[in-house]
């Protein structure tokens, strides 16, 4: 177990470092900088130079990188150039929203796909399984932002049940907070569930062929009961892998969804910061997002251990299927 931990930690650190360098360099390759954004249409060459100098954008790249990364280690990500807010604080206030959005969608999708996937595996050979197949195909094909817009039209504009956008923190008003998150979570979960259903279904079909299911049936359990009692846990391992792997695309989806529902999360912050060439904010944000994904991968390795004792003892990771 310690070897697993050590290996996961060191790969986490190396990935985070390489990622931060890549993002840092890519940002410098983009045309336009924060000075062009602040000064806008009427900027003169002199004023652009003066502002760049004032913000330290003229410093050598290595020094700029060092200034930033050493600050990060001290817990200081700097202040944004234009708005002058504290970046670490701004990220910290946005983490709960994006985290809630991503994790709720993951959990909801995992549960929904487990139930529907198992159901469809059990009924693989009749019309019910076919229907699940068709529906999951449609679910995969629907982009989440479009689904979001459709839901806004129905639930906010036509029926008036839910707000069309905006965010109320759960700590401020639980009811309103849940209302403001309902559609975004659904918009992210539906396409994700559709993907996961297919993994659960194929995993479960394999499991249902295993000897221990036959044994359970021989002991008097129906196929459905055997599947739920003994099959689900076994079919969960590929589900965990795929779910965590989906996290990257889920965060990408969250950027779009946060725009559709005007939610002030990390995704919106990233879009605004890239547009405004807020290099420090973008670097710090991507670092945080990378760490989030890497940490979850790390937790995934541990989750394998819990789900499958064979992995715990061998000290390795489980394959996807």
């Amino acid at each position: 177990m310690i070897r697993v931990l050590a290996r996961a930690m060191s790969s986490l650190a190396i990935s985070a470092f390489l990622g931060s360098v890549v993002v840092f360099l890519l940002l410098r390759m983009l045309k336009g900088d924060v000075a062009t954004v602040i000064l806008g249409q009427t900027a003169t060459r002199e004023s652009l130079e003066a502002l760049r100098d004032e913000m330290g954008l003229d410093a050598p790249l290595v020094q700029q990188y060092w200034n930033w990364i050493s600050g990060v280690f001290r817990g200081d990500m700097g202040t944004s150039y234009a708005a002058e807010f504290d970046i670490a604080h701004e990220i910290w206030t946005r983490v709960p929203l994006t985290f809630t959005l991503a994790i709720s969608s993951l959990i909801l999708s995992a549960i929904v796909s487990l139930v529907i996937g198992t159901f469809s595996a059990i009924h693989a050979k009749d019309w019910r399984g076919t229907w699940v197949d068709v529906l999951s195909q449609i679910g995969i094909a629907v982009p989440s932002f479009w689904l979001g817009l459709l839901m806004v039209t129905l639930f906010a504009v036509e029926l008036g049940w839910l707000p069309a956008g905006g965010y109320v923190p759960l700590t401020e008003d639980l009811g309103e907070g849940l209302k403001s998150l309902t559609m975004p979570v659904l918009a992210l979960s539906i396409p994700l569930s559709a993907v996961l259903v297919r993994y659960v279904r194929s995993g479960m079909l394999e499991v249902l062929d295993e000897d221990f299911i036959r044994t359970a049936q021989a002991k008097g359990l129906t196929l459905t009961r055997a599947a739920w009692r003994h099959g689900v846990r076994n079919a969960s391992i590929p589900l965990v892998t795929v779910t965590i792997l989906q996290l990257g695309s889920l965060l990408a989806g969250a950027v779009v969804i946060e725009n559709v529902f005007t939610l002030p999360g990390l995704g919106r912050m990233l879009v605004v910061a890239v547009g405004g060439r807020e290099a420090l904010s973008v670097q710090s944000l991507t670092l945080v997002l990378m760490l989030m994904i890497l940490t979850l991968n790390f937790l995934m390795d541990i989750a394998y251990g819990l789900l499958d004792p064979r992995i715990r003892s061998s000290g390795g990771s489980a394959p996807i299927t």
Binding site: K31, D33, A164, N259, T262, V272
Partner: protein
């Protein structure tokens, strides 16, 4: 002191009404309020109830990098701030005349070089009193600013406080642009010693205080209890930043917000849908920006005047207005901003004639000329690009498209090297921005500059009008800057919201007269 007023009948009536109202309702008989009721807003009924406890939520599509209006002339800054949080020395009226604001009166010396402003008694949002030193510091701060905000100060020699309530501005030569400029954000006044806080939210004298800016979410403003003028109707106003126009119009339809301040992009296609909706309406606000095409005069292909003429003859303005602005706005071939200036002209030197364009290209020996077209991929620019490309192709050009997101575009087109050949843009600038070295058209004509300089220095406004008219027509002849339309700001609002000012002097969305009514 003699009060300088370029009074016109409509304004005279308003002033009379305002003076009467003040005399009845205030113990300060000298102060002048200039509440523009009636024809200046979409409201024809009485003034607001100042005690209502009402909230208003407005969606704006752009959020500025910060609120420092001296660094950037961005509409995103001016829309929420101007006249709401910060006020100016004087205020522009819908007919182009200038009315008192922070200066309750002013006088001009016979030779037109000394302006003496009498500063009214008022309080800043931090509780401090307004006096002439605040005004001097703010004017100097704005004078040191970037771009358009500093332009009206070009002729200024000195700005001095002669006593607590008097500010004297001395010009090197007479300048018509000076007083007009004092009706824009160039004369925005903030409390002394707070200029370094402007980027985070200025402390002004306006009817609303800047309470909180949540980046990427909203700006909140509260009614200012000690406001010198009529108290506004709304006690709290939230400006929500909703970049996606589909999202903001949906929020309006769902009743989450009350107003979408300006529809700029894809939402323009939903104008008739909003108008047809019960309880909602579209309001158009004049004097917003001019939309134009720009040619880089330094580009090799434009060294032949025949090619420049060919482009000008290829452009048909009305289809562009229909496609990108839902047919709203005033077609124009000359750059007069705002379009109600006295030197506005219907002069149109190049008629739409694609056959002529083809002939001109043949004559120039460059049929099928490759024309790189750099365009912005946001707001109204994609539909403009589509129509203009079709028209240029029809006229024999081989258009090569180069789409750019905003920041890259700013850097390439408006940055240090003007790296483009042909583009489309819109902005709140006046024609003066194109003086040598010609802004980003890089077209420089000393004769054009001289006309503008002479017009500015004239003490007789008729001479100013004449010179500026000649200048804008000369610029239209040159053909490097092709104005398309004087845009109107298209706002979508709940129909019981009254008092929306139907013109803007400086991209503002004036909250002062807004109220709910049947």
């Amino acid at each position: 002191m003699r009060t300088y007023k370029r009074s016109r009948p409509a304004l005279g009536l308003l002033m009379t009404f305002a003076l009467f109202a003040t005399a009845c309702g205030s113990d300060d008989g000298d102060s002048v309020t200039d509440t523009p009721v009636g024809e200046q807003t979409n409201d024809s009924t009485a003034a607001a109830d100042p005690t209502a406890d009402e909230e208003l939520t407005i969606a704006v599509s752009q959020e500025p990098p910060n609120w420092d209006y001296t660094q950037s002339g961005a509409t995103a800054i001016k829309t929420p701030l101007l006249y709401n949080v910060i006020e100016t020395l004087v205020e522009k009226q819908s007919d182009g005349s200038v009315a008192p604001m922070i200066a309750e009166s002013w006088e001009v010396s016979e030779d037109g070089t000394v302006y003496t402003f009498a500063i009214r008694e008022a309080k800043f949002h931090d509780g401090s009193d307004l006096d002439s030193t605040d005004v001097v510091e703010s004017l100097e701060f704005n004078r040191a600013g970037e771009g358009d905000i500093a332009t009206p100060f070009d002729a200024v020699n000195s700005i001095e406080a002669t006593d607590d309530r008097t500010v004297v501005v001395t010009l090197a030569q007479p300048s018509q642009a000076f007083l007009n400029g004092m009706a824009t954000i160039s004369s925005a006044i903030v409390a002394q010693g707070t200029t370094d806080q402007v980027a985070q939210g200025p402390i002004g004298t306006g009817p609303f205080t800047f309470v909180e800016w949540k980046p990427d979410v909203s700006v909140e403003m509260n009614r200012f209890g000690d406001y010198w003028g009529d108290a506004p109707y709304f006690s709290n106003v939230t400006w929500r930043f909703i970049t996606d126009e589909t999202a903001s119009l949906n929020a309006l339809l769902a009743g989450d917000i009350d107003v979408v301040a300006a529809i700029l992009g894809e939402g323009i296609d939903r104008v008739s849908e909003i108008n047809a909706e019960d309880g909602l309406e579209i309001v158009t606000i004049a004097g917003f920006e001019i939309s134009y095409l720009s040619l880089n005069a330094q580009a090799p292909i434009f060294q032949d005047p025949l090619v420049v003429q060919a482009i000008n003859h290829a452009i048909d303005r009305q289809p562009i207005i229909d496609a990108a602005f839902a047919g709203l706005g005033e077609l124009t071939c000359t750059f007069v901003n705002p379009p109600n200036e006295p030197w506005a002209s219907d002069y149109c030197p190049y008629d739409y004639d694609p056959e002529k364009s083809r002939a001109l290209l043949e004559e120039a020996g460059v049929p099928d000329l490759v024309l790189p077209f750099k365009y912005l991929t946001i707001a109204e620019f994609p539909p403009i690009q589509e129509v203009v490309t079709a028209q240029l192709t029809e006229a024999g050009f081989n258009v090569e498209l180069e789409g750019r997101e905003l920041t890259t575009y700013l850097d390439e087109v408006l940055g240090e090297s003007a790296d483009y050949t042909f583009t489309s843009l819109s902005g709140p600038s006046t024609i003066d921005a194109w003086k040598c070295p010609g802004f980003f058209t890089q077209y420089c004509d000393p004769e054009f500059d001289q006309l503008l300089t002479d017009g500015d220095a004239a003490t007789d406004s008729a001479v100013t009008t004449e010179k500026r008219l000649q200048a804008v027509e000369m610029h239209a002849d040159a053909g490097f800057l092709i104005p398309i339309v004087a845009k109107v700001q298209v706002a979508a609002t709940r129909s019981d919201l009254k008092g929306i000012k139907l013109f803007t002097a400086g991209s503002e969305f004036d909250l002062g007269y807004l109220r709910l009514g049947s």
